[in-house]
Amino acid sequence: MPEPRLHELIAASLDALHDELPAFSTGLRRELGELTAELVCAGTRRVATAAHDRVHWLPPTGPADVVLTTDERTVRALLLGHTTLADAVWAGRLDLKGPVPELAQLHDVLRFYLSGMVRSRSGPDLVAAFQEGPA
């Protein structure tokens, strides 16, 4: 089964942050700390893992602190502004599991990640390439 494009997008954007905005990449690693955050998309699991000076996007090796389950259609709708994070959760299109403090930390990590992504040179092109898939 091919890697879902969402995982490709996230892996490429983490590489772009590391290469283009190293201070953001280091900051994201600091925000993530010891938290393990798993994303399940189309049945494929990947985990954000802090190692050395950056965050990597890797297959899981054990249970994660928080698990986010969604699909590419929902992520595209979020990136296009057709839905909000809260509405996606309420509609059951985005499932979050984990203790509240860790979910709150994940929110801060996601916000930091997006803040870097929108400032990176490659960010707009990566998002555009991802959005070319089915809406």
């Binding site: 905005l21 990136l79 502004g81 916000r111 997006l114 707009p124 998002v127």
Partner: protein, 340 residues
């Protein structure tokens, strides 16, 4: 070329200073607004230094906001450096498929977004003399500059998602801003214009405040009668009141991905902005009543926050007396309010 065309050509030139590796906050943009029938178009072509990546040089963007049938649509297209042509001097710049040229006393605009949302060809011819305000000093020490040609005639056509709209004798506004400043610093602006139909009067309001709107750095209210700038109220002659807050049920956010970082529907856009100006026997009151808002959301240059440019659709009522002549008019307008 007409006299107005000659004056506009002299006043409206691309600045494009040499890159300053220690500053990296130069920004320059051309802003065009067109009002025709039930259509409002805002077109902004901009070049701005990248504060993080010296190798990148600058960002080039074409921002389009359309309001039709009571709803906003829009898009911000990022143009790679290889598709940018912009030199200092007379206005001629190309960002991707969008080109602006000053020729034969007017602006020729070809716009084409790669998404297909908008294509068009417009020609704007000035109907008023330009006005310039130079060296407005912000709080971080570097000046910003502004040239405005507030009323133009606009002809051409627009194609919105494949549907063609002829534009004949439309009303248009143009301004040009340049200077060195960083998004997120201690400033915010309020700005707007009114181009009433079948009236010789045109007005522009602008105010630069601290980010929290606790102190005013500069304010102006200009009136043109026909092509002449007949009154420039400035600073101490002007009192501004912000009444209430606009509460929108939905807000278009551009680019959409920024809506994930700034999802709130709450804004600090006033429900009404009232500008009262008096001096030297002249007086004017301008009331802008907000109806609907769209947001252009920009990442701050030096912190993780965002700066939100609110494009606010509403109505203007203005009345007063300038040089002994009384006036009163109402029209729809789009004001811009910067918020955190």
């Amino acid at each position: 070329m007409t006299q107005l065309g000659t004056l506009a050509r002299i006043a409206d030139r691309l600045r494009r200073p040499a890159p300053d590796p220690n500053l990296r906050t130069h920004k320059e943009w051309l802003h065009f607004c067109v009002q025709h029938a039930d259509l409002d178009l805002l077109l902004n072509v901009s070049l701005s230094d990248d504060p993080h990546d010296p190798d990148l040089g600058e960002h080039a963007r074409v921002a389009v906001l359309l309001r039709q049938g009571g709803a906003w649509r829009g898009e911000i297209e990022t143009v790679p450096p290889s598709e940018v042509m912009a030199y200092p001097g007379p206005i001629h710049l190309r960002l991707g498929q969008t080109e602006v040229r000053f020729e034969r006393g007017g602006w020729d605009i070809d716009v084409a977004l790669s998404s297909g949302l908008l294509r068009g060809q417009l020609r704007l011819e000035p109907l008023t003399r330009p006005a310039s305000v130079h060296n407005v000093r912000g709080l971080d020490g570097h000046p910003i500059n502004w040239t405005v040609v507030p009323r133009c005639r606009c002809d051409g056509w627009l194609e919105i998602e494949g549907r063609r709209h002829p534009v004949h004798d439309g009303r248009a506004y143009h301004d040009h801003n340049w200077g060195a400043f960083a998004w997120g610093r201690n400033f915010a602006w309020e700005w707007g214009y009114a181009l009433p139909e079948a009236s010789p009067w045109t007005t522009v309001f602008a105010r630069l405040n601290t980010r929290g709107h606790t102190r005013t750095l500069m304010q102006l209210l200009f009136f043109w009668r026909d092509d002449q700038l007949v009154r420039a109220f400035r600073d101490a002659e002007i009192t501004v009141h912000r009444h209430g807050l606009l509460r929108a049920r939905r807000v278009l956010k551009l680019p959409p991905v920024m809506g994930l970082i700034a999802p709130s529907l709450a804004t600090d856009v006033p429900a009404c902005i009232e500008v009262i100006a008096r001096g030297w026997g002249d007086e004017a009151t301008l009331r802008f009543t907000s109806r609907d808002v769209a947001q252009v959301i920009l990442p701050n240059d030096h912190d993780l926050g965002v700066t939100i440019i609110h494009e606010v659709e509403g109505s203007v009522h203005a009345e007063g007396s300038v040089q002994g002549e009384r006036f009163a008019f109402e029209t729809t307008a789009v004001f811009e309010v910067l918020g955190a």
